[in-house]
Symmetry: C3
């Protein structure tokens, strides 16, 4: 088993927003802790996770990580428990490092790719006074990322823990009903598409029909197969069934009340 090394890419996902200075300060702090001349490449995944919404953060991370090169460090911070006893962790998988709080944020990723080693960051070593009780992104996680980038052995600033003890989130599988599934909307994207929890994998080769608020809609391959303004279902770029309106927004179409969505298997 060859040793995984950081490739210099740090991909960051938070609920910090971009109105404040928080994200810039986290990056500054990482740079401050590196050796002179070391230049990582920061990639922002998103900082617009709704405040303290761990599930939303876990989903976006699951949708993203596999498109990054081997050795990427993912720094993910959605951390309502900051300052409490929740653990700070580093998870090493076959291809990646994940750094952040142990609150389930990584659990959807870790259903797809097994952890190789899980570490708890030793705060008594990494958190240097004076530090804030509310901004571990700057005072704890940024230095941890810098230690990784500098190649300081994890044994010096973290201890191995049991991966089965990690906090994990409930998975939202579609609810089986007679003849099919009742779906849940787990995300709404910028274009107003409603992303459901039915994966292409679960459906497999079975033919299905999609019923939304009592009306059947077409399953198409891509947006441009729909008529302008038509409500359709299609598989998203993440392999999940989504509801879309061609050249419009399904979110606006359905308004405040999210629609009920069923999938029935053709037999």
């Amino acid at each position: 088993m060859s040793k995984l090394r950081p490739n210099g890419v740090v991909a960051i996902l938070t609920d910090f927003g971009t109105v404040d200075h928080f994200v810039g300060v986290v990056k500054g702090k990482i740079l401050q802790e590196l050796k002179a001349g070391q230049m990582p490449l920061f990639i922002d995944i998103t900082h617009e996770i709704p405040p303290q919404n761990i599930v939303a953060g876990a989903l976006k991370l699951k949708f993203s990580y596999k498109y990054f090169p081997k050795g990427t460090i993912f720094l993910a911070i959605v951390d309502p428990g900051v300052g409490s006893q929740r653990r700070a962790i580093v998870v090493e998988t076959e291809d990646y490092f994940f750094v952040g709080p142990d609150n389930g944020l990584f659990s959807l990723v870790l259903m797809e790719t097994k952890p190789r080693v899980v570490y708890e960051i030793l705060t008594e070593i990494v958190l240097k006074p004076p530090y804030s009780a509310t901004f571990h992104g700057r005072d704890l996680f940024a230095p941890a990322v810098a230690l990784l980038l500098c190649g300081v052995p994890l044994s010096e600033w973290a201890k191995i823990i049991d991966s089965n003890e990690l906090v994990s989130l409930d998975i939202y599988e579609p609810e089986p009903i007679s003849g099919g599934y009742r779906l849940q909307i787990i995300d709404i994207d910028r274009f107003g598409n409603l992303i459901t929890n039915l994966s292409q994998e679960l459906l497999g080769e079975r033919k299905a029909k999609v019923v939304i608020n009592g009306q059947e809609i077409r399953i198409v391959r891509t947006y441009s197969d729909a008529e302008r303004g038509e409500v359709v279902a299609l598989f998203s770029s993440e392999g999940l069934l989504e509801i879309a309106v061609r050249e419009g927004s399904a979110k606006e179409f359905f308004g405040q009340k999210l629609p009920e969505i069923f999938v029935f298997i053709n037999s």
Copy 2:
């Protein structure tokens, strides 16, 4: 004719927004396809082009490209036709590469700087399964940018096409009327300035007066030449006539109903 080489800078303009993971994933995918150690410099132009608004994207790109160094790759994705038969292209000009859909997004730029060679990306080569029918930014354009950055000859993954066949947008020139022009508002910026389609070039040395909703306003050189709260006209940093309110927002001043703007040439 010396060969244009990428300089490592990738400037990105999309309608993806920053709430989702889309932009981060596109960058991740580019990195994933590069050789170990290759580190491009990503510059975000904007990701807040209104969804599927090709004209807005084309304008912002036209306002931006010439300030980047020679060899920059522009990756521009506003792509309502994703998954349809619309072509994916690479346009090489004297100084730059442009990568994106052939839907007019580059046409305003190409009125100013002639294409040297135009290529259609061979999707059967670049689009590797499994791929999504709705996210060509990740599955088609990102790999194309990586191929450019790696120096893989375009002849291996694209074919030359006729630049006269590119989709182009209608240009919005000011409408000539008796004694002057009726202007159109083509953009509203963050500060609420209303950007019109009258260029300093078109006006030339001629003296003019600006009439907005029936009232003449002053033409000033810069915001600080206006009184606080005064509505004035001035030439924007892109050389277009704009309507501004000193220490205020012209957009808020005029509210929902955009004003009628005329320019009369003094004779």
Copy 3:
């Protein structure tokens, strides 16, 4: 006194927003003026300073700069006086360079870290025609940053001025009242926390109680010490007293009318 050299990091704070192309163009312009192969690392602190709000910009900069490595160039542009006679400056401190307009934007930083040398940028040298009277970010400050990065001596494009002549902002110290202080809210962050002007330093070891709209609230160490929905006071990551609601937003809790906040010293 050893000479301070740029480390290649350019941290940028503006009121430009991210909807337009302005920030991308400033970065492009810096790159365009560098030597081939020179690759700075751009860090966005924030671009969402409310338009022309110099105080907000000065605060966010003060909250951020000290977490960046020695040699960082801070480019800060909140510039209502663009095109007027306001000076364009470079401030060199022990550890950093600051580039931007002389309108008080740097004054809160310079209360903490003394300027070593202050320069006025010679616009007749740095501002190259054709230039815009309204976009000095692109036409003046970006070239100045590039000159710094290229190591061109400041004596060639700037002149030393007296640091006592710099424009400075009024400082918002808490107003002393009988038995304590009346606080002011100086910032509201993404999470709806209300940041006041009472620093932990000013309070020192003294015990205090916080009264908000006539009701005493608890001072806690971290968000997770509060009950869900409880209004509490705690010291922010910048060492200022803030009002927070656990798993909620103090901003939403108090609505339109900002609360009155007093601190009384226990004697």
